[in-house]
Amino acid sequence: MTTYLIRRIFWMVPVLLLVALITFTMMHQAPGGPWDRDPSRRQVDSSTQEALNKKFGLDKPLFINLEGGNPLDSQFFTYVGNAIQGDLGPSYRQRGRMVQDVLFEPPKGKAIWDSRFGYSMRLGLLALVMAAFLGIPLGILAALKRNTLFDYSALFMSTIGISVPSFVLAIFLIILLAGRLNILKIIQRDWSNPAAWMVPAVVLGFGTFAYITRLTRNSMLEVMGQDYIRTARAKGLGGRVIITRHMLRNALIPVMTIMGPALAGLITGSFIIETMFGFPGSGREYVTAIGNRDYSMIMGTTLIYALLIVLANLTVDIMYGFLDPRIKVK
């Protein structure tokens, strides 16, 4: 187990490096650069652009420095070197701020969860908590009432939830709540009010809720058919004890293991929802950065998201090892 873990963790390094390389290459392929247009200022003239490029090292070769000296003195390797030390570079558009500050630094006097990333994290967590607290009981009930109307409705709803993409759901809700009923502002500006979070969180979490419902139901059905459940019945245990001690404990293993990746998916996948609702999270920051060619912001967000996904996938394997001793990880 330990050697497996060490190998997995070491393998994360080249994976992240390649993600960085692909993003870096693509980003520099995109026409234009960070100084091209800045609505808040006047157009940047060419001598200023040169000075800015020099200041931020954008005049260096992209990958390999062939002009003598250190071949690794290039934009890419300088970035990677700094990123390893936790320095994601200065944002090119939000002057004077470092990328890690934009993402993780809260406004003055606020706590870490008021940072851009904190906002996305909280939205993802809220969505996951709602999905789990509604999805798990619904899945259990559907399995216990198998082949009844209740079961069929739960299944039907979960198929819809899994299929209908969240941004389509968002459009329906925005038109209904903002266009028709005037309950919601189309572009929300004040996110200090918890009620404002509900709509984006519901939209974001609906697919996960549907998935958890289906997974719980199927997992329960599988456990219910096992011999040890028959044994428990045969020795005269009551229904409640069987359900809680024997069924749930085993049926919830797959559900628990997907929690990590589900949260990672909700955080990294929320940028379209964030953009639609004007939610001030790190996902919306990414979309803005792409339009602005804010190279360091694009790299920083992509790498943090990739790290999140890799770690989430790693936790699945570890959790399986802990929750289900029958599985031996090699």
Binding site: L16, I22, V164, G179, I290, T302, A306, V310
Partner: protein, 340 residues
Amino acid sequence: MTTSAQTKSQQVQPKPGEPAVATPDVADALSRPARSLWRDAWSRLLHNKAAVAGAIVILFFMFVAIFAPVLAPHNPLELNSGKGFLPPMWVERSSTGKAGVPEFILGTDNLGRDVLSRVIYGARVSMVVGFIPTIIIVFIGVSMGLVAGYWGGATDNLLMRLTDIVYAFPDLLFFIIVMTALRATALGQFLNGLFLLFVALALVNWVGVARLVRGQVLTLKERDFVLASQAVGASHFRIMVRHILPNSLSVIIVAMAFLIPGAIITEAILGYLGLGLRPSTDPADIFITSWGSMLLEGQTAINNQPWILLAPAISVALVVLSFNFLGDGLRDALDPRLRE
């Protein structure tokens, strides 16, 4: 649902106590015309109401896509000045004080273009984006999966490492950056930008199929029928294509049914971000607008004319839901053991 498979094996079962050898005429009397596994699956699929409904909706949208020029009541590019933001025909007074007219069933957009005609033309993009990349993905994925699973070694290692990288990359982030980066190149302008989208979708999704097929091959190649073909001297190529591939076909078909809606959703999201199809003003183009692009255009008209948003949103939801129903149905039909 396993009954049809059981009756098949029970066809010539003797009564208890009798010898298991049937005389020819008894066997004839007991046997039905042979039914292939595919035919069994087909009849199971036809009994699944949700899957049939899904298939009908998909066929309907394919029909709409192909015959868009005939079906669209207006030219989707025709600007009707003074008739912008008309509400749908059943609305008597919209928030802008206009009344719907039967001429424009779902109303018009800001430039006075007919929303219904644009949705009809948008179906073309979604259908093409659903099917073409999926065919490419399956072709590459299946070949790589077969080779990796059958030969193992370096190909297999490479495949698994590639999968690790693709799985680590947040896929929408990848699509966004690729579409932004290569949009201005010749590749990005081919087919109004659709070709680039095909390539991006294929790059991300083929590994999933390859891994799936690889898993299938790993179990299938240990089976006796493979050993038997090896014994009679079949070539590796023949074993792969004639014996292993047909046995993994059901898994591949089901995977396809779920790849298609994924691609349609991706196009809609990218279109909404302004990174999908380049909206065209040339009437000679086959692909004029997409549902994703309509969502982007309609964004500012939530109060004035919500149908610019609603019509493509409902269409996306309907198509994606239908493919999911069909996919579920196919999975149950092709492998009853997997039935949930």
